[in-house]
Subunit: 200 residues, 4 copies
């Protein structure tokens, strides 16, 4: 039977989300390699059997984690601010994300690796990645048209470079703070958006 009230449905979804968050944390901390359903259930204070009440299989739980990660990541990608600022704002948003949500960074890295062996994840990640690339490309083209960009830049290739550079930051090794700073600085310099925070 379906839940009788919207409240009950929400309660169920809440529990599911709790479990997804716990799994999310576990993956961030120990990777897919170390993801244990019992640990996830325990983190929420539930019995392992109860976890299976909400998610029939471990795989289903992982799908939930994928959705959660995508949700968070995509929200970062959406352009914000006035068109002229969007490019710089975008870079800052990603930089901010890396600082604020290191778990998301770790999970995104895990997903990227897993996509080699999981077609479902591969599809989803490819979609997100393409969306990201196209968003950036759009911003760059508009900026170029408005004359805010150095005329010798190939907008599409620059978009690819930016996506590549930022993607590498999902990997823990490279994420040394100063190296990240350097990379961002160089990207901003390349785009000519470094200093200004808005129109004078």
């Amino acid at each position: 039977m379906s839940p009788r009230t919207r409240l009950e449905a929400a309660a169920k979804e809440d529990r599911q989300h709790e479990l997804v968050l716990a799994a999310f944390n576990q993956i961030a901390a120990r990777g897919f390699e170390g993801l244990r359903t019992r640990e996830v259930a325990a983190e929420v204070g539930l019995n392992i059997a109860t976890l299976h009440y909400y998610f029939p299989t471990k795989e289903a739980l992982i799908r939930g984690v994928v959705d959660e990660a995508m949700r968070r990541f995509r929200s970062t990608l959406e352009p914000h601010g006035s068109p002229a600022d969007q490019l710089r704002t975008h870079l800052r948003a990603v930089r901010q994300l890396l600082r604020t949500d290191p778990k998301l960074r770790a999970v995104m890295g895990e997903l990227a690796l897993r996509s080699a062996r999981d077609q479902a994840i591969a599809g989803i990640l490819r979609g997100t990645n393409d969306a990201w690339y196209k968003t950036l490309r759009g911003l760059l083209r508009r900026a170029a048209k408005a004359g805010h960009l150095r005329p010798d830049l190939d907008t599409d290739d620059v978009a690819a470079l930016i996506v590549a550079a930022l993607t590498s930051m999902m990997l823990p090794t490279v994420s040394k703070a100063d190296r990240i700073d350097q990379t961002f600085r160089q990207l901003e310099r390349m785009l000519g958006v470094s200093g200004r925070t808005g129109p004078p």
Copy 2:
């Protein structure tokens, strides 16, 4: 007991290397998540117990794989050719590596992720990464001094950007051929090394 002759020692090392290569392949194909010592032994035609004769633990075998990966990767990083060409040659070498040795790419990705949970790997990878960064920075500084670089480029930041961009290619998801091509093209354009293959 230690091997009595140099020949025997060499034979032992050969077997060990065989096992390391098999493990390397397994990790490339199935990730750490799917690495099974039994599979590794079977790939070499050995019993699982014999594997433990050569490597006391799974972890020891993994250390062997790490060494192998580093060896291969570092050899790519070494500067080749005349100083003027080294920058372009380096980019080409990495590009070539991605094409020629996709397994190394996959293993490097796995190692990068694992470094979050394995301090030993983290240390090794950080070392390699720093070496890479410093190599590139050196090349860039020399090129700048020789006037082969656009004067407005900050050599150190560019080095960081290049390392970041190339590192992202260890992740399977992003590795769409045309996106990779775009990224390389943009890097070469940025460095002004795109067309020329040598001094006029």
Copy 3:
């Protein structure tokens, strides 16, 4: 609390019977091995917890199934028709039962096997079996006295043989249609009741 009105009591019994029938079907389809209380409840459109309201334990539900099976089976055994015909009629009734109610056949087989481990079922089944044997023996003795039987037959032993032969048909393997036909034919021939359908 006990149900306050006869109507309520009847309603409760109806629900219980529904559940018993569902369990009966499940056992027929998947055996005791595959009997799942959740499936039973679902088949009636009830929650698993509600099933436990009507039957405190799985075992109690099974008792209900045993009763149901016995009720159906015993009703087949009751003599019908004129005394002269009863013997032939009895065989025909069993044959008919095997055709009409294959689920009962399957459940009887399951119960027979389970009786080895379940004294309660063993007792009930022994009772039914004895009743069957005695019914048949009575019919045979009366037929013998009336001269309707070949004088060289030992009525009691024949009764045992008939019960044995018919019992085997509860097992699915042996139940090849033509082998069943042969067996019935031979039994009727042995009793000399094959052709006639009644007195001339």
Copy 4:
């Protein structure tokens, strides 16, 4: 690698057989419903993991039990003695089997029931059953030709009846000693093989 000596191969087969026998006993005692691999391993004094070294799955172990049961049962069916005696000898052999090997009886019953849900078992059991029927039919036809049988008996139908009657004895419920005796007596009487133990 394959075992190096015939002795080692035999040792492995011995262990496997030990496990099959333990499983056989468990099924006889608790039915398929109560078959637990851990119990089987314990009965042989092995760890559960070791059981899986010899049999990859529970199902594989069960196949072993099926083979064992068939081997035992078929050896009973083979005709023994001089042609004239074979019919009586066969009945006695089955009777003997029921007394000597009550576990086999129980396992055969379990297999018969399981065949409804397991096509592999169904096929095997059907084969054994047909072989049994044909063996008996052959004996009866030869006995009829030799004039050792009452001329009014239909050999084929009698064969079907005998198989049915004896099959029922695999079910525990019906197996009351005196009822079994009666059935055998009646079968022998019907065949005219009751008294004599051989040619005068």
